[in-house]
Amino acid sequence: MSSAAPVAEFPTSSPLFDARAGEVTQAPSRGQRIFDAVFRKTCHTFAWLTILLVGFIVARITAAAIPAIHTLGLGFVTGRVWDANAGTYGILAQIWGTIYTSVLALMLGSIFGVAAAIFLSEGFLSAAVFGALKKFNLHLKPVTLRLPDQLERLLKELIELLAAIPSVVYGLWGIFVVIPLIRPWCNWLHAQMGWVPFFSTDLSGPGVLPAVLVLAIMILPTVTAISRDALVSVPPKIRMAAYGLGATRWESLFAVILPAASRGIFGGIVLAFGRALGETMALAMLVGNSNQIKLSLFSPANTLAALLANNFPEAGPKEVGILMYAALVLLAITLVVNVAGAFILHRAALMQSE
């Protein structure tokens, strides 16, 4: 390579350097240039492939669903009966089950999740531990000095651990622990207050309530993590202003801190809703797989994801198309919820940075 050759010789030499100028320093070799160009192109290509992958996923599912969309039309979404023998397919019951269980789980999971986020972000625990240690005059000992912070971190990691347990394990735990545990109470409630629509049936095994309980546990870490981030990123000066005026901890929380963090918390809850809608295994194992629309917490129901999980393995070519249609409906619902959640969080981050 002519361009890689030394530019010119010059006579200077010091005892430390004996090489001619340009002996070490070279313009990039042909190999380096080619590798650089290829590497950059490759990275660029893979970035585009990510976009294409998402497009391909949507296109693949849509394409497979098109025959079913043609034959079944919108009646598929409004039909309540799924009977493969009769050739009647409708997923309204599954859509109802998906949204009903997710909303209930979200209510439960948000209460616990936001409470845990407040508890972990406002220094309640470390303050309490510090106070307790001080009672015994242990608070400044080398071992105990860091204890309050360590305990708080441990608690935070335990909450995160809830998210690490696979959903199928939660399903197993739900079948053998939750259902036997709550069944007597549920049946007692049904016996005493059966006129309330929510308690209008008895719990014979799988049903909405155990599914909701387990689902709530599964989305709780998402709510906690995002809410905690939102609370922690409330500027300290806002906090100080409230405390400085003599507000108690909770007065400042309700009046100032929670409103400031509300967008972030709400975004987290919406994302958790997206998770709940798409969650499959725990529901397939606990919800009972029965296509009915009831308000009762104790009756079995079905969800879109559970429908897919149960029917795909043995589906014939015709049924595959119909299931793809159901998958497309699930995709549309979760897509809308996830985009909304991401959008809210994005706006919250913008507000925060202003």
Binding site: V7, F17, A21
Partner: protein, 280 residues
């Protein structure tokens, strides 16, 4: 290749502001007519010749664009969004901003030492050998590393811990490590952007001595806000000033001369005021 260079010829004398001196020992001939970051005009009308085996210092108040000018000399400004440049920078007679010139190749011949010491998160040896690997050097790496570390006056302090992380050194040692890294590949020109601003006086002194030694082998351009430093080490000094008359803050070259002349007998009133310490 698009970067095939024309044969070496003497620089044609845009930068001749000094009387009675040969023009053919100019290694980098910098002529900035206008330099923009987006719509912000950062520098105008700056002509600085950088001569072989000399030290050229850029001084001036903060915000006068002296670092910007320095970063023009090896096209580091290409990394800044919206950077636009009018004029030329000739390295050995070739315009490094000409079409088809590879900025990567330019930077291999015109090395750079930064304001903050910036060793890589790897061993001392690998830090110095980085440039050798970059250039695909096939010879005795250990020998080159030792020579560079000796030249940077760091060898005696680190010879027993070449496998320790470069980040474990003190600030002054880190900066000398960065100098060793820059000179290990033996580039022709070394640009130093306030190399001592993060260091204490003793470390600063060592780097200054080092620069004087290195100028026997390398051509050095240095940005400094320390007038004494420029006076102590530089053969030539350029004084840049900020022009605020047109609304923006545009830097330009006020005066360029031998350091001795510039400090003892400044011609321009701005230079006189600055050297007397009447503004910073």
């Amino acid at each position: 290749m698009s970067t095939a260079m024309p044969p070496l010829r003497p620089a044609n004398g845009h930068a001749a502001t000094l009387p009675a001196e040969k023009r053919d020992d100019i290694v980098v001939d910098c002529h900035i007519r206008e330099l923009y970051y987006g719509s912000f005009k950062a520098v105008r009308d700056t002509e600085i010749p950088i001569r072989k085996n000399s030290i050229t210092a850029f001084i001036g108040p903060s915000g006068c664009g002296k670092s910007t000018v320095l970063r023009c000399l090896n096209r580091m400004n290409d990394l800044v969004r919206g950077f636009r440049f009018e004029g030329h920078v000739r390295y050995r007679g070739r315009d490094i901003y000409a079409h088809g010139i590879d900025p990567v190749a330019v930077r291999r011949f015109i090395g750079m030492v930064f304001q903050q010491p910036n060793p890589f998160a790897t061993s001392i040896f690998n830090n110095v050998a980085f440039g050798l690997r970059l250039n695909g050097f096939k010879g005795d790496r250990a020998d080159k590393v030792e020579k560079a570390l000796r030249a940077a006056a760091l060898w005696d302090e680190v010879k027993d811990k070449l496998n320790k992380s470069g980040l474990s050194l003190s600030g002054g040692q880190q900066q000398r490590l960065c100098i060793a890294r820059a000179i290990a590949t033996e580039p022709e020109v070394l640009l130093m952007d306030e190399p001592c601003s993060a260091l204490d006086p003793i470390a600063t002194r060592r780097i200054e001595e080092l620069m004087t030694e290195l100028s026997q082998k390398f051509t050095i351009a240095i940005v400094t806000h320390n007038l004494q430093q420029a006076q102590r080490v530089a053969d030539y000094t350029g004084f840049l000033y900020v022009d605020t008359t047109q609304g923006g803050r545009t830097g330009y070259l006020v005066e360029f001369n031998h350091s001795k002349h510039l400090f003892e007998d400044p011609q321009h009133p701005h230079t006189q005021q600055y050297i007397r310490g009447e503004f910073s």
